[in-house]
């Protein structure tokens, strides 16, 4: 709760900095604030506090995800530091990002469906604007409009679902609804199940699971690169944490109703994401499809719905986000240099800047799931959780899908080491980006080696 207040305060402070003219000093303040958020929320480990009439519940799950989200945000600010030097609306960007983080923290710690709705809306509304923040770029405008219209539509489904569930149970509280299900099992009106399915549609849209993924590639490609990085990491993590929290606390006892649908959704997402990613020329769009594919893997944890799920989902989102941040950092440096986001822009990077090429290789290998990177253990724990619940078929499909994944992740690696580009001038990397890349690389390896520690947290 304190971390939530701190984040909101930071957001307001950045807005004030525009008026009182300390814009230049706001960047370190925000970084410090984010570190403070991590510390403040970590202090509530094992306290299990309920707030404001059970609107929010900071259990270990919420604390862990709050820390994770704040940390990714910290890395994200380091990544985007360059971008904001050129942009004019610095404070607006910062404020919107910080308020989006407030939404994300609410989404991982809600205990009441009204809070879920507010969290999702706060996060999405900031992103609709940020996606369109390049006002002179038609693609950016298209991305914003598409995201907004589709997002509003999905929110409609979510609200309809919440309304139906409220109509049956008379409560927005997750625990009350879960109790209702156990008390009335076998005697629940169909209205309730329809509500569950409608909520599922709304959430599936937010995590961009197929067949609700059509907005994702265009929005990811049209938005400014740093905003795409934000969407692919923080938004995905928060949306998934919210999805899992909802289904784990509320609907885990009626898995027969939604289990098959999630099963089909997971297979579709894995297939569509991985196969479409193979023939993308633009690295940005490839990463967009890969993020759809990763949503497919994460759906396995929801299907498994056992005591390993929460830990594996935390580990997977952490591994995925750190690797994505690394990839996006390298991509942003490349785009800055050559103004080209196609895979050819990486040609010969192994000679032009060996460190960058190494960072990109590690990120790609981690995303593909090659040991000893974090991504491999993420997949391992997810598959393990699914196998414990007897979901053999879906694990087989996921293994096949990750083999396809190896193909397109290696395309970038091959371009960097085995092809020579027209431009062979060395690539400069700023100090902050170097620092960020070293940090994320260490994390990718460390998480791989100490995966047991992370997984035992939840």
């Amino acid at each position: 709760m304190k971390s939530l207040i701190l984040l909101s305060g930071l957001g307001v402070l950045t807005l004030l900095s525009e008026i009182f003219n300390f814009k230049r000093k706001i960047f370190p303040v925000v970084l410090l604030g984010l570190l403070g958020t991590i510390v403040l929320s970590a202090m509530y480990w094992n306290t299990n506090k309920h707030y404001f009439n059970d609107m929010m519940f900071f259990d270990n799950y919420a604390v862990a995800f709050t820390c994770l989200i704040s940390f990714i945000a910290f890395a994200w600010f380091l990544l985007s530091q360059n971008y904001f030097n050129e942009e004019t609306n610095l404070t607006d960007h910062f404020a919107l990002i910080l308020f989006a983080l407030v939404g994300a923290v609410i989404m991982v710690s809600y205990q009441n469906m009204s809070m879920l709705f507010l969290g999702i809306e706060t996060l999405s509304l900031s992103l609709y604007v940020l996606a369109g923040s390049r006002k002179n770029d038609l693609h950016s405008n298209e991305a914003a409009l598409k995201y907004f219209l589709m997002g509003a539509f999905a929110t409609g489904f979510l609200l309809f679902g919440i309304a139906l569930i409220y109509g049956v149970t008379g409560s927005f509280n997750l625990q009350t609804i879960a109790n209702y299900i156990t008390l009335n099992s076998g005697n629940i009106p169909a209205l309730f199940y329809t509500g569950v399915l409608l909520m599922m549609v709304g959430m599936a849209f937010k995590i961009s699971a197929a067949p609700f993924h059509f907005w994702a590639p265009d929005v990811y490609q049209g938005s400014p690169l740093v905003i795409t990085a934000f969407m692919a990491t923080i938004v995905k993590t928060a949306a998934f944490a919210a999805f899992f929290r909802l289904f784990f606390t509320c609907f885990s006892t009626i898995e027969s109703v939604w289990g098959n649908i999630i099963f089909v959704m997971a297979i579709l997402t894995l297939a569509v994401g991985n196969i479409t990613a193979t023939y993308q020329e633009s690295v940005k769009r490839m990463l967009a499809y890969s993020s759809i594919a990763h949503a497919g893997y994460m759906l396995l944890a929801i299907l498994a719905m056992n005591k390993f799920s929460a830990g594996s989902i935390l580990f997977y989102t952490a591994a995925y986000s750190v690797a994505s941040i690394t990839a996006f950092t390298v991509l942003s440096i490349i785009i800055n240099k050559s103004n080209n986001e196609a895979i050819d822009a990486f040609n010969g990077l192994g000679k032009r800047n060996p460190f960058l090429a190494f960072a990109m290789t590690v990120a790609m290998l981690s995303l593909a799931g090659i040991p000893p990177m974090a991504g491999f253990f993420g997949k391992y724990y997810l598959f393990n959780a699914a196998l414990q619940s007897g979901q053999t078929t879906i694990v087989l499909v996921a293994v096949l899908a990750s083999l396809v994944g190896v193909y397109y992740y290696f395309k970038a690696i091959i371009a960097m080491y085995f092809k020579s580009g027209s431009d062979s001038s060395p690539v400069e990397v700023s100090f902050i980006h170097k620092l960020l890349l070293v940090l994320t690389l260490v994390l990718i390896f460390a998480m791989g080696l100490m995966s047991d520690f992370v997984i035992r947290l939840l």
Partner: protein, 165 residues
């Protein structure tokens, strides 16, 4: 008994006007039908003892938002039939999916006739009771929604600002 007839009348008006919003070709007509739909829904709120909500609904939706809508339509000069043609396949797919959704919704409502709730406290929707709920039980969502509005405002300002080069 009287209430029942009022309900059927309002239900007819709202469904009819909602259909007309979709069907009519002229955008201005659409907006006018939408206003009619909002008024009939406000009537439903009154029937459900939510008087304050009904008033707010009329003021905000039928008043403010629809006027904004009309302005935008007039400024864009959309009153000609400038709708882009949609492919037959798209129409076909949309008809099937929305038809399926309709079937599901009708099916679920059919099973739930038995669970009609008794009419609660007739004063539940008055401002005093609403305020009590809002500031006691739902204090945090109420405060958090201020952040939501702040985001909307900052976003609007940011999009409206001139790009300084």
């Amino acid at each position: 008994m009287m209430i029942k007839y009022i309900f059927y009348f309002l239900a007819f008006v709202s469904v009819f006007s909602a259909l007309m919003v979709v069907v009519s070709k002229n955008p201005v007509h659409c907006v006018l039908y939408l206003i009619m739909c909002f008024f009939s829904i406000a009537g439903h709120y009154v029937l459900l003892n939510a008087q304050f909500l009904a008033a707010v609904h009329v003021i905000v939706y039928a008043g403010a938002i629809m006027v904004l809508f009309l302005f935008v339509i007039m400024l864009l000069n959309l009153n000609t039939q400038s709708e882009p043609h949609k492919s037959t396949w798209l129409k076909f797919a949309a008809a099937i999916t929305s038809g399926l959704l309709l079937v599901i919704l009708v099916g679920t409502l059919k099973g739930s006739e038995t669970m009609v709730m008794p009419v609660g406290n007739p004063n539940a929707g008055l401002i005093k009771n609403l305020g009590n709920t809002l500031f006691k039980d739902f204090l945090l969502p109420f405060e958090v929604s201020s952040i939501l509005f702040l985001v909307a405002m900052v976003g609007a300002v940011m999009l409206g600002k001139k790009e300084i080069k």
